[in-house]
């Protein structure tokens, strides 16, 4: 049964990409903003981190510092994207879908330009071992998991705790449900929207960084990143807007998505190049199923935030 365990651990490691992405997206959506720019933001996070690593990769700095600086680089660029998105949608009240899609196209393209200009041997070789602490060097499958994976789990749990157990979370959810009410009781709606979007973008950006330099750790990794941004957005629905459920959801998604490569190892199922994409769409099929089930059950707690996608401005009568 070792094969199954290996497969589970691999799914977990792969899933951390979406765990970051959808935790970030949930924070943004809880503030009432549907950020379709997440794929682009994840790309920019990856690019930001790699830019830093490219600059310091051969400088001989201590390992933990390289890790932290890489993370900071990823955070910086993705939060900048979040700031652009917030400025456009919160302050200028631009259409959220259009802004998000523009950001995705922009981020995905710009990342490809940046990444193609960099030397993968500099930003990849050193860090991979560093990020895999404390399991680096092990021979079993546990060596897939490292600090960034555990950080993803911690961030998802912490996000749930903040959202559902603290006053800040209560206020944030009120902003996403009914901003006029939040405004009337003296909550600074704009501040909450900016903060949630920027922090959410930063978290999502870490997902992109994690995918490129840790999980895949290959020169071509960046080419496939954008698709996982979309998967992260689908995962938000699957997780019913609860960050802690993204841990389970991302594992399921990781499992389903890599099922195609796994199944090729099983002799009695024939998988060809043509059937592989069909298997890869399983996560989306599951998302649709979840949507159908939650819509039929129609429980208010499992619905998206009530004012999701609607711009808010104090009405002047």
């Amino acid at each position: 049964m070792n094969m199954w365990l290996n497969f589970l651990i691999d799914s977990l490691a792969f899933g951390a990409t979406f765990m970051y992405g959808s935790t970030g997206e949930i924070l943004t959506e809880k503030a009432g903003h549907l950020n379709l720019g997440i794929p682009g933001i994840m790309c920019m996070g990856g690019a930001g981190g790699c830019l830093v690593l490219n600059a310091i990769g051969k400088s001989g700095l201590p390992g933990f510092l390289i890790v932290i600086l890489g993370v900071l680089g990823a955070l910086a660029l993705s939060m900048l994207c979040g700031l652009i998105y917030s400025f456009l949608t919160v302050t200028l009240r631009a259409n959220q879908n259009v802004t998000g899609l523009a950001l995705t196209t922009f981020g995905g393209g710009l990342m490809k330009v940046i990444m193609s200009k960099m030397d993968a041997t500099v930003y990849l070789v050193g860090p991979k071992m560093l990020y895999r602490w404390p399991f680096a060097g092990r021979q079993d499958s546990l060596q897939c998991l490292g600090v960034l994976f555990f950080l993803a789990v911690i961030v998802a749990l912490a996000a749930s705790w903040v959202l559902f157990r603290t006053k800040v979370g209560l206020h944030l959810r009120a902003v996403g449900e009914n901003p006029a009410t939040a405004d009337a009781v003296g909550i600074n709606v704009t501040k909450y929207k900016y903060a949630a979007t920027c922090i959410g973008s930063g978290i999502a950006g870490l997902g992109g960084f994690y995918y490129i330099i840790d999980y895949m750790a290959s020169q071509e990794a960046y080419l496939s990143l954008e698709a996982f941004g979309w998967l992260s957005i689908a995962l938000v629905i699957f997780a019913l807007w609860r960050p802690h459920l993204t841990i389970i959801g991302s594992t399921v998604f990781g499992f389903l998505f890599s099922a195609s490569s796994f199944i090729t190892n099983i002799s009695w199922i024939r998988v060809t190049m043509a059937t592989k994409p069909i298997l890869q769409m399983l996560p989306y099929v599951v998302t649709i199923l979840v949507l159908v089930v939650t819509s039929v059950r129609n429980k208010r707690e499992n619905q998206p935030p009530q004012s999701l996608g609607l711009p808010y401005f104090r009405e002047e009568r």
Binding site: H171, R173, E177, N178, T181, A184, V185
Partner: protein, 567 residues
């Protein structure tokens, strides 16, 4: 006990553009009293209260709390001065529990602990005699429970001055009694309560003093014990203002629309129309008066087929006897049906039968004008959708109060908006744009609509021009019944007169005009008869030529209970 001043307003003035909503209002509120603010729609009650609660900022004047001058710029400032307002439209997060809503935005020391909040909520509720489960979600609550949450929300923040904006409008009589008990307990506890209402009986029932506002001005504050309904009504409606609106006597008024025993419950289960019965005559303007939200909108929507849950009958009389049948408002299918029922005869009074005739032959015969109706058509509009009503050949026009929501599509041009009425005409699948465009141009010309062109979005037009486009379209449909809800709301004097003129012209051409208005002077000057609604029921139909404002004012404001007690 010595009266202690809690709140003083001095010279408060608020303008919205050119409109003066409040003009140098002075008001005193004592500790431990219930002050009622009484006034007609749009007299500036809510605006005044919003300035105390920090929603608006006054243009002029001073506010004193406990003798100290204060500046209130936001609801938070108001709370800091221990003032809280319970709005007519609740501001609650549906998904949260009562306690979560109550604690929202409260800045307290210490950790966020819902258990403690729940306990405090229960304490406050117990103190004033509320019944509430702090763990219940708002979406599971009735209107009255939601109101309770709003009141506790204000008390939780330590408010000593509570403002309630028409708290009884949404409650049942039993719930109103309970609310008043709670208010009396709060008064005994030393709180100051300001309650906005226009139900006279409630004012007399619960308040200690009454302040009357009229057209933004403070008319008087009287002790409730020393006044009565007719004195209050007189102060509320004021002297009759004579308006120079033309009004001809109705010519051959005949019943056109009979509404019988109409009952309707809204989504919240409230009884919004109670046994409404009346007749609208052709060639006459029937005014509908009432406090906002007395069921006027629901009544018009029920007639127009937009309230499918209604009970009762709406009978339409089409004066068609001996008039030729046309395809203008009837389909071939309908003409065949009516023919089969023997509804038609020809010029020689011989019954018409379409048996064995082809569609082309029938069309030719009908279009020659020789097929006549035998009797007036009588059609029951009950359980009909707007489309079905139109297909039955009932020419019913509706100018809704929400012009850019229900009446027109704001982002489309005038031509496209005309097509909302005619998109079914023309060859299948294609639109006829020529006629709507001509109609649009005609409306612009005839009604002097100020617009850059027929295709510029109607949303960009001023309120008066939007209304001209909407009324123009509905009139172009040559209605037999024209219903207009608040057609002059927000319009300047000139546009208002244009609309009055249009309504009068419709009346002269034999249309039954139903005009829902809020200004009693206009209703009295324009209508032939006035139907007064109160809490969803018809409290009277009066002759507009002889009725007085006080008479209508009393019919509008008396509650059920007051009427029953008199009877």
């Amino acid at each position: 006990m010595e009266k202690q001043l809690a709140l003083q307003l001095r010279g408060i003035t608020k303008r919205f553009g050119r409109v003066v909503a409040n003009n140098h209002v002075d008001l005193d509120v004592n500790r431990g009293e219930i002050l009622a603010i009484l006034g007609e729609n749009g007299c500036g009650k809510t605006t005044l209260m919003n300035m105390i609660a920090g929603i608006y900022f006054p243009d002029e004047g001073h506010i004193y709390v406990d003798g100290q001058e204060v500046v209130i710029r936001s609801p938070k400032d108001a709370f800091d001065h221990r003032i809280g307002m319970i709005h007519q439209h609740f501001k609650l997060v549906d998904l949260f529990t009562a306690a979560e809503n109550i604690v929202l935005g409260v800045h307290e020391e210490g950790r966020y602990n819902l258990k403690e909040v729940n306990q405090r909520v229960t304490e406050i509720a117990g103190k004033y005699g509320f019944h509430i489960d702090p763990r219940k979600k708002i979406y599971d609550m009735s209107v009255s429970e939601k109101q309770t949450v709003e009141i506790i929300k204000v008390l939780y923040r330590g408010a000593d001055i509570l403002i309630l904006d028409e708290p009884t409008a949404v409650l049942t009589p039993q719930e109103i009694d309970k609310l008043f008990d709670v208010l009396r307990r709060m008064r005994a506890d030393g709180k100051s309560i300001i309650i906005i209402t226009h139900k006279l009986h409630e004012v007399l029932d619960v308040s200690d003093r009454v302040a009357i506002l009229r057209r933004g001005e403070h008319i008087a504050t009287v002790n409730t014990a020393e006044t009565n309904e007719s004195q209050l009504t007189e102060m509320m409606v004021g002297e009759k203002v004579s308006l120079d609106i033309e009004r001809n006597d109705p010519v051959d008024a005949a019943p056109r629309l009979e509404v019988m025993h109409l009952n309707l419950h809204n989504a919240e289960g409230l009884h919004v129309l109670r046994d409404v019965t009346f007749t609208a005559n052709g060639g006459e303007i029937l005014g509908i008066a009432g406090i906002a939200g007395s069921g006027q909108r629901e009544l018009l929507e029920a007639i127009a087929g937009l309230q499918p849950q209604m009970e009762g009958d709406v009978i339409f009389h089409n004066p068609k006897k001996d008039k030729p049948v046309t395809f203008f408002h009837k389909s071939m299918k309908r003409v065949r049906e009516l023919g089969a029922q023997g509804m038609f005869h020809d010029q020689n009074m011989k019954p018409v039968s379409f048996d064995g005739m082809s569609t082309a032959e029938i069309r030719k015969w009908v279009e020659s004008g020789n097929v006549l109706f035998k009797e007036d058509e009588i059609i029951d509009l009950r359980d009909k959708t707007p489309l079905e009503i139109r297909q039955l050949g009932v020419r019913l026009s509706f100018v809704p109060e929400d012009r850019l929501g229900m009446g027109l599509v704001g982002s489309m041009g005038i031509t496209d908006n005309m097509m909302l009425r005619s998109y079914r005409k023309g060859p299948a699948g294609f639109l006829d744009r020529k006629k709507p465009r001509e109609l649009a141009e005609e409306i612009i010309r005839e009604l002097k609509v100020n617009t850059p062109g027929v295709n510029s979005p109607v949303r960009r037009l001023s309120g008066g021009n939007v209304q001209k486009v909407l009324v123009g379209r509905e009139i172009a449909f040559t209605p037999k019944v024209l219903m207009a809800a608040y057609p002059v709301r927000g319009l300047d004097i000139n546009s208002s007169y244009t609309i009055y003129h249009l309504l009068n012209k419709q009346k002269e051409s034999g249309v039954a005009v139903i005009f829902v208005g809020e200004d009693l002077d206009v209703l009295l000057a324009l209508s032939d008869r006035i139907l007064v609604m109160n809490s969803g029921a018809v409290t009277g139909i009066v002759d507009a030529r002889h009725a007085t404002k006080e008479e209508i004012g009393l019919l509008m404001t008396k509650t059920d209970r007051a009427r029953k007690e008199e009877a």
